[in-house]
Amino acid sequence: MKIIRIHNELLGTYGDRGNADVLAYRAGLAGISTRVIDVSYRDAIPHDGDIYLLGGAEDAAQILSCNALSGGSLHGAVEKGAVVLAICAGFQILGKSFYANNNEVRGLGLLNVTTVPGTQRYVGDIKIHSDLLGIDLTGFENHGGKTLLGAGAQSFGSVVVGHGNGESGVDGAVSGNIFGTYLHGPVLARNPEFADLLLSRAHGSPVKVDDPLADHYAALRLRLVK
């Protein structure tokens, strides 16, 4: 299984690189061999990845990354059914447009969302309920953007604690195998069931990993974020 970590030198401001490490680690426990491929800004994005990961970033870095991806390299992989997890600035890049350095920037349009400047900066612990997983997830959010869902677009979860997409009471967006969310943490470290969902989608059959320390940590965060 090929896990592609996109532009971590640009999209690595908030520790989201850990999502790839968690996926590789859990896949290993499930007996699936993986390779994490770091693709830098100067490199071409491979088309044959199984999971593509994008993280949070500062404004200038977000613009650079988006420009590099706008050639359509990610679109091809998505059409082949690849799994995409995009956090914060990465999530905004997947949408139709976002604001960075006070300018509107055209996104990749893989998710039917637009992001506009928020009324405040949204900083703090966040808890959401995911209907897809049937569980609560925790993370940490730190962003100034407010994301609006387009017609028919599906959120990733409903906000229990924190802000998510802004004031609308939901977080992120989901479309097929594409997942966008504001949860840092990294989100897959704090929510192992979400990691297993992505592995299952990429693997084509259910992956359920047993790692007591991961479960202990996830349960602890769930208890403490309220």
Binding site: L10, R17, G18, R42, A60, I63, L64, R121, V123, G185
Partner: protein, 408 residues
């Protein structure tokens, strides 16, 4: 200053003493200082704290322009940066003391009130460490002779938000500072380099090729937003931002060494004799680390402050023994988000006896677990120390945990 009469002090850095013309303002200041000092004394004797920040707070309440007034008659030197503020300030104080009286701020009181508190005492020099976000207002208030800018990297993002944001504030600060203020800067850090492009006078210091490679957060030019390509610690952006040119170039080395060099250059600029030539003589920089040794329940512990990706990476490289305790908290000054622990590699702890504790110990235990480092997770530091019998242990502790252990 008779001991160094063979050399004139750096003339542009010595300001004429400003005589107070407003008698009432002086009287108000004197009364405010008297009240602030007794408040500090009272708080200390009642056991309500170290008495370090309270006097400054009282002083600023009673006399809001106290910092301006108290700065006017002395040579002000400020030190700021994400990492190394306290040890660099300490080193600078030691060096500057050879030529005149110095007041300084205690560690951890680097906000405005700490600065005000330090200035209550008379002196020729004031050497003050200042929080990165508070630096612009302290520069405006104190009109410093010299500002030493060490580095900027990710730290307490819930408060700083972005490194670029802090760099932009520094850039504006350098632009609006008095032209006589000299900025001494490590230009291997592109954020610091960008900041001083606005300064009227600056001394650029570089530590040569491969000085720790690329800046971990330096993929984007802070000046123009272009992608910044690095070749062995060197960068050169199309917009002109580059560390290929410097006024002083030294060999690369540890963070402690770099900060010692920067402190020595700053000391030279304010007239300390031999400070630069002493750089070549010094070989041990352990004194420049935020570290201390202490015995807990019979176990000899070497404590090291680790507060963000850069300082963790530096501290982990210095782990030599086989016994390690890691302590992670996430209070306000630690940074309330722990996501950054995933940007540090703990691989060199593999095979050692590692015990993890702290209020966010579980975060760290799971993070190193994924990197293949197994640890024992315990609730308290005392439980952790008890697992090491009567041996010795290296303790890497987050900010609040470090001071909790140092002060107990």
């Amino acid at each position: 200053m008779d001991q160094r009469s063979d050399r004139e002090p750096h003339t542009r850095l010595v300001r004429p003493t400003v005589a107070y013309s407003k008698g009432m303002e002086n009287l108000r200041l004197a009364i405010a200082i008297a009240i602030a000092k007794s408040a500090g004394f009272l708080s200390k004797s009642l056991g309500r704290g170290s008495g370090e920040t309270l006097p400054g707070r009282v002083l600023l309440t009673l006399c809001p322009n106290a910092i301006e007034l108290l700065s006017a008659s002395r040579v002000i030197i400020l030190v700021s940066g994400t990492n190394g503020k306290t040890s660099t300030t300490k080193e600078l104080v030691t060096q500057v003391r050879t030529v005149g009286t110095v007041v300084t701020s205690g560690s951890g009181s680097n906000l405005t009130r700490g600065v005000a508190g330090a200035l209550m005492q008379d002196s020729v020099f004031a050497v003050l460490e200042v929080d990165e976000l508070h630096l612009p207002s302290v520069v405006a208030a104190t009109n410093p002779a010299l500002v030493l800018l060490l580095n900027l990297s990710r730290d307490q993002l819930h408060r700083m938000h972005e490194v670029k944001r802090v760099a932009s504030r520094w850039h504006e600060m350098c632009k609006s500072a008095d032209p006589s203020t000299l900025f001494v800067a490590d230009v291997d850090d592109p954020f610091v380099n960008y900041a001083i492009t606005g300064a009227a006078s600056a001394v650029r210091v570089s530590f040569g090729a491969a000085s720790g490679g690329r800046h971990p957060d330096g993929a984007v030019c802070p000046s123009c937003g272009r992608y910044l390509d690095w070749i062995e610690g060197k960068y050169h952006c199309e917009c002109g931002l580059s560390n290929e040119y410097a006024d002083h170039t030294y060999e690369s080395g540890s963070a402690g060494y770099r900060n010692f060099v920067l402190a020595s250059i700053a000391a030279d600029m304010v007239g300390v004799h031999n400070s630069i030539s002493n750089i070549a003589l010094r070989t041990d920089y352990r004194g420049m680390e935020r570290a201390t040794e202490k015995v807990f329940a019979g176990v000899k512990a070497r404590l090291r402050l680790t507060k963000n990706p850069a300082s963790w990476t530096e501290a982990l490289a210095g782990v030599v023994g086989d016994n390690v305790i890691l302590v992670l908290n996430a209070r306000e000054v630690d940074g309330i988000d722990t996501s950054w622990i995933w940007d540090v590699s703990y691989a060199n702890l593999a095979g050692k006896k590692v015990v993890v504790t702290g209020e966010r110990g579980a975060d760290l235990a799971y993070r190193i677990h994924v990197e293949g480092v197994e640890s024992t997770l315990v609730d308290t530091f005392d439980e952790a120390i008890a697992l090491f019998g009567l041996g010795s242990v290296e303790v890497l502790a987050a900010y609040t945990a470090f001071f909790g252990l140092v002060n107990r």
